[in-house]
C-alpha cells in the first residue's frame, strides 16, 4: 500500500499546522501548552503507535496522521481528560494495535506473565539440578585403591597446577 507515501508527499505539500502560541518575543514558544503538559502529552504520544509507518510512536512520527493525533492529545489534555480516557479514545477508534503497551486481558495474559513464570520455572529447575549435583558429589567417594593411586600421583608430581 502506497498510502503512507502519499501522506509523506502531502506532508511536504502542505505546511504542517502546528499548535501555535501567540508569543513573538525572544523566548521561543513551546509547541504544546507548557512544559508540564508537554511532558504529559509526550508521554502519552510515546505509548501510541503510528499506524501509518507502524515503526514509530506518534511522538516521533512526522506522518500527517501522527500530527493530527498529537493535536488530538493536546486538545483532550486541555479539555481536562485523564490519561486513561485519552487512551480509551484512541483504542475505541484504532483497536489495541495502536497501543505499544499491550492491555492486560485473557489473550495477553501469557505475554505479561510469561517471562516471570518462565523465570520461576527456570530457577526451580536450576535449584533441582544444583541439589542433585550435590548429591552426586556426596555419593562418589574414592575407593581405597583409587585413594592410594591418587596419593601416589600427588606425591610424585609435587606441586603442579
Amino acid at each position: 500500500m502506497r498510502t503512507w507515501r502519499s501522506l509523506l508527499v502531502a506532508l511536504f505539500v502542505a505546511l504542517a499546522p502546528l499548535a501555535l502560541a501567540q508569543n513573538a518575543g525572544k523566548e521561543a514558544a513551546p509547541l504544546a501548552m507548557d512544559p508540564g503538559t508537554a511532558k504529559r502529552a509526550v508521554a502519552l504520544a510515546n505509548e501510541l503507535r503510528c499506524l501509518v509507518c507502524q515503526n514509530q510512536t506518534i511522538a516521533e512520527s512526522n506522518a500527517d496522521l501522527a500530527q493530527d493525533l498529537r493535536r488530538q492529545i493536546n486538545e483532550q489534555i486541555a479539555a481536562g481528560r485523564s490519561d486513561r480516557e485519552i487512551i480509551d479514545y484512541m483504542v475505541a477508534r484504532y483497536g489495541d494495535f495502536v497501543l505499544y503497551r499491550p492491555p492486560f486481558k485473557a489473550a495477553t495474559a501469557a505475554l505479561w506473565l510469561g517471562p516471570f513464570v518462565l523465570a520461576a520455572i527456570a530457577l526451580f529447575v536450576l535449584a533441582r539440578v544444583v541439589r542433585s549435583r550435590r548429591r552426586l558429589a556426596e555419593e562418589a567417594p574414592l575407593s581405597d585403591a583409587e585413594r592410594r593411586e591418587a596419593e601416589r600421583l600427588l606425591g610424585e608430581k609435587g606441586k603442579r597446577k
Partner: protein, 178 residues
C-alpha cells in the same frame, strides 16, 4: 530413559514455533482491523463538496445500506480503485458517499471531474477529524454501513473487483434481505 525425554523439549518447542511462523507467512502484519465493526457509525455533520451550504450526516441515509468511501485527490492508490467505484455507480449497485479526507476542495472537484464522480455526494473532512473518528489510517478505505447505521465491514486499501465480488456484494445482499 526418562532423562532422555527432556532432551526432546527444545526440538518440540522449535517445531511449535515453526508452525506459527509458517502460519504467519500468510498474514499481513501491517493491516489494522477496525474495532468499529458491529458498532454504530460515528455521527458527524459536514458540508458537502459540491454544495457547501448543505451538510451531510450518516443519519440522512438511515434505512439504506450504503458505502462510505474515504478518498483524496493526493491519494495515488485511490486512482486504482476509482474505476471500480465508477462502475458500481453506473450499475446503481449501492449508494456511495465520498469522504473527502484532508483535501483542498478545488483539487478534489478537479479530480472528480477528471476521473469521474461515482458518489451520491462527497463530504468535506478538511481537518481529518471525521477520519480519526472512523479510525482511518490509510487512504483509501471503504466502510459498509447498514440500514440501522451500524458499520458492518471495512475495506482497507483500494476496493478491488475481487473484494467487491467475494466480500462486499454478498454482505450487502445479506443485509438487504435480513
Amino acid at each position: 530413559m526418562k532423562r532422555a525425554v527432556w532432551f526432546l523439549l527444545p526440538l518440540a518447542a522449535f517445531l511449535v514455533l515453526a508452525a506459527f511462523l509458517f502460519r504467519g507467512l500468510g498474514l499481513n502484519p501491517r493491516e489494522v482491523p477496525s474495532p468499529l465493526i458491529g458498532k454504530p457509525a460515528p455521527a458527524f455533520e459536514r458540508p458537502q463538496l459540491h454544495d457547501p451550504a448543505k451538510t451531510f450526516s450518516p443519519k440522512d441515509l438511515a434505512g439504506q445500506v450504503w458505502l462510505l468511501n474515504v478518498w483524496a485527490s493526493w491519494c495515488v492508490a485511490c486512482r486504482e480503485e476509482h474505476p471500480v467505484l465508477v462502475e458500481l455507480a453506473r450499475q446503481k449497485a449501492v449508494p456511495i458517499v465520498g469522504l473527502n479526507y484532508k483535501d483542498a476542495s478545488e483539487d478534489a472537484k478537479a479530480w472528480l471531474k477528471q476521473f469521474g464522480d461515482p458518489y451520491m455526494l462527497s463530504v468535506v473532512d478538511r481537518d481529518g477529524r471525521v477520519g480519526i473518528d472512523y479510525g482511518v489510517y490509510g487512504v483509501p478505505e471503504t466502510f459498509l454501513i447498514d440500514a440501522n447505521g451500524v458499520i458492518r465491514h471495512k475495506q482497507i486499501g483500494p476496493l478491488t473487483p475481487e473484494a467487491w465480488e467475494k466480500t462486499l456484494r454478498p454482505k450487502i445482499e445479506a443485509l438487504r434481505k435480513g
